[in-house]
């Protein structure tokens, strides 16, 4: 019973991280109808940048902010400079292109910082919280993880539902030609969408690095989990990303806990195949087809 409880709590914390990466994939998909297979590698890159800043300044939060800022820039540059040219072509080209970005990032990062496995600091304690004499199997860092991802989700929700900028972004993604006729600068907003998405991905990278450690391929599995979570929730749905992430976190926690940690990724694969065969549009179907 206690083990189950521990697995649940661990699963929730991990699930929030997958939700953040899933959110990144969803944002990119909504904006440009591309699955960014390099999203994990981008998150890994921004985490390395964070580590460099932390080592330079001795302050975790400078690194945190640096990672988010780097994510904004990296995503914007990638969309504007490279991805834009394949956005309207056959989907196969966009997939191969983002895979190319993945290879480039996973090669260039060790060129700069080396391929050895590094540790990454957590801003709060990662040991269990003690209440009186009892230990709750949750650490302050877990709480921070859940809190910050929820905060980001809420902020994005507010942005999209209640601000003019969010309205413009939705229009740019949903009905770009009409939006242009209304004066919306569609191109710039799509670029900004990628920037926001990569910021969310950067957050995932920061939150997973303390336990997963930092090395050039560390986000490969997380990408698979995040993609599965995004598909589970519906590639068009930000809320779906959150729900899908939590579901993945819990499922993988139980699979790893009861069947063995090496089967986690295989388990994720099984879940992905199952969803794609049974309900490929995901749990939360966004109202309508996208307009060209």
């Amino acid at each position: 019973m206690n083990y189950f409880f521990v697995l649940t709590l661990t699963g929730v914390a991990a699930g929030m991280i997958y939700a953040a990466l899933a959110m990144a994939l969803v944002l990119v998909w909504r904006a440009t109808r591309v699955v960014n297979f390099a999203q994990g590698a981008m998150a890994m890159t921004t985490t390395y940048i964070a580590l460099a800043v932390i080592q330079l300044t001795g302050n975790y939060w400078f690194g945190f902010i640096a990672a988010l800022a780097a994510g904004l820039v990296l995503g914007a540059v990638a969309e504007r400079g490279i991805v834009r040219w394949v956005e309207n072509g056959p989907p196969l080209n966009a997939v191969i292109l983002t895979l190319g970005l993945l290879l480039i990032l996973e090669a260039v990062v060790p060129m700069i910082w080396g391929a050895q496995i590094r540790s990454f600091p957590a801003p709060f304690s990662i040991s269990a919280v003690q209440v009186g004499a009892a230990f709750i199997p949750v650490s302050p860092f877990n709480l921070f993880t859940v809190g910050v991802v929820l905060l980001v989700m809420v902020a994005l929700l507010v942005l999209f539902r209640f601000t003019g900028l969010g309205l413009s972004m939705r229009a740019a993604a949903f009905a770009p030609e009409i939006a242009r006729l209304l004066g919306v600068r569609v191109g710039r907003l799509l670029t900004f969408g990628w920037g926001l998405a990569t910021m969310a991905g950067a957050l995932a990278g920061l939150l997973v690095a303390p336990s997963l450690l930092l090395y050039p391929n560390n986000m490969d599995a997380i990408l698979v989990y995040g993609f599965t979570a995004a598909v589970l929730g519906g590639l068009d749905s930000p809320i779906g990303a959150l729900v899908g992430g939590l579901a993945m976190g819990l499922a993988l926690s139980f699979i790893g806990g009861y069947l063995g940690p090496d089967l986690e990724t295989a388990g994720a694969l099984a879940i992905l195949i199952a969803i794609l065969m049974v309900r490929p549009q995901g749990l939360f179907v966004h109202a309508a087809e996208r307009r060209v």
Binding site: I96, L97, L101, A107, N217, V231, A266, L269, M277, P280
Partner: protein
């Protein structure tokens, strides 16, 4: 232009059959010829550069894997990022078979590895048949990242993280003067040639046309009577079988089947070979295999002339392959083979333009 009656039609269909048979014959003769030339070349090069010979065995299995993938992705339009994992299935089958029976005939072992992977591919292919584009890519990505973990989990069968060793191929007594790497490469050349001959012929048949038709327009193909799902699975099984065979050769070449030998990068390298060589062309698979194998070692050898820090040198091939993906999608969707084809067409048209008109020039 329709045949005017049963007689004509009969003759027409006979000539179609007649058209295929010469092609098969031609390909087989070409294959045997290439095999003999290749074997002789390998034997000749060996005293001067045994490592090159060893690398040629790598080219063989990459070529087989790339050939399968180019049929699946280039012809049929299904992008798979999991073929590295399928190579792992082939390699592990080889390892498990040889664990207790070290002197099994390599042909049998390779055949078994191919068959086992083909069966696995039926399952994967059936699951994948309904997926398109990024969904298929994501699912096969999961395969690539997840399957090695299975080998670790069942370490009593598969040897865990360290993997299972595969005994080296030893030439039989009458050929004991042949060095191990030459023997290895000879053994690798045979299935390579066979695979290419078979695929080259398959591509010309109805199946090849169906593959292409589905990639071009799935709805139209279905309306035309092509059984889309079945054909998709067939393409997957074919390419999976190639991957299994390639994995078996990989196992014989590296004497090992371990989870670390089949990372996501391997799948991406296969894809790189296909993209660089030219999506959908069999000669392109050869080009791609050559580049994927020789480019990294060329970079390493550059170290003698241009001193690069080791970190840069080690990662440069992957970075450049990634750059090739990006550039290829932006500028050259047809790869080397496509570029060569276009050059050929350009030369042909220029030659035609330069030829003077035989008569007064009435068009």
């Amino acid at each position: 232009m329709q045949p005017r009656g049963a007689c004509e039609r009969g003759r027409a269909s006979l000539s179609r059959v007649g058209a295929v048979r010469p092609a098969l014959l031609r390909h087989s003769l070409l294959g045997v010829g290439l095999l003999l030339v290749g074997a002789a070349a390998v034997w000749a090069i060996d005293p001067y550069d045994p490592f090159l010979v060893y690398q040629l065995s790598s080219v063989c299995y990459f070529a087989i894997g790339a050939a399968g993938l180019t049929v699946l992705t280039g012809l049929n339009g299904q992008l798979s990022l999991g073929h590295g994992a399928l190579m792992g299935v082939g390699a592990y089958t080889t390892a498990v078979l040889l664990k207790d029976h070290t002197d099994l005939n390599p042909a049998l072992v390779m055949g078994a590895a191919t068959a086992v992977t083909a069966v696995a591919s039926i399952i994967v292919g059936a699951a994948a048949a309904r997926l398109r584009g990024p969904y298929l890519a994501g699912a096969t990505l999961g395969l690539a990242v997840g399957l090695p973990g299975v080998a670790v989990r069942f370490s009593n069968i598969f040897g865990g993280d360290a993997g299972t060793s595969i005994p080296a191929l030893v030439p039989p007594d009458p050929l004991s003067s042949v060095t191990p790497e030459v023997w290895l490469t000879w053994i690798c050349l045979v299935p390579t040639v066979i695979t290419f001959v078979l695929l080259a012929n398959l591509v010309r048949t109805r199946y090849g046309r169906d593959f292409r038709a589905i990639r071009e327009d799935e709805v139209a193909s279905a309306l035309y009577g092509i059984r889309v799902a079945r054909t998709q699975v067939l393409a997957f099984v074919l390419s999976g079988a190639c991957a299994g065979l390639a994995g078996s050769l990989l196992g014989y070449t590296s004497n090992l089947a371990a989870p670390g030998s089949f990372p996501l990068t391997l799948s991406l390298l296969l894809l790189a070979a296909v993209v660089i060589g030219g999506l959908g062309t069999l000669p392109g698979a050869v080009w791609g295999a050559l580049i994927v194998v020789f480019f990294p070692s060329w970079i390493t050898s550059l170290n003698d002339t241009v001193h690069l820090p080791s970190a840069v040198r080690d990662q440069l091939p992957l970075a450049l392959f990634g750059a090739v993906f990006v550039v290829a999608m932006l500028a050259f969707p047809h790869g080397i083979q496509g570029g060569l084809v276009r050059l050929w067409q350009l030369r042909a048209s220029r030659r035609k333009a330069g030829t003077p008109e035989p008569e007064g020039g009435a068009t």
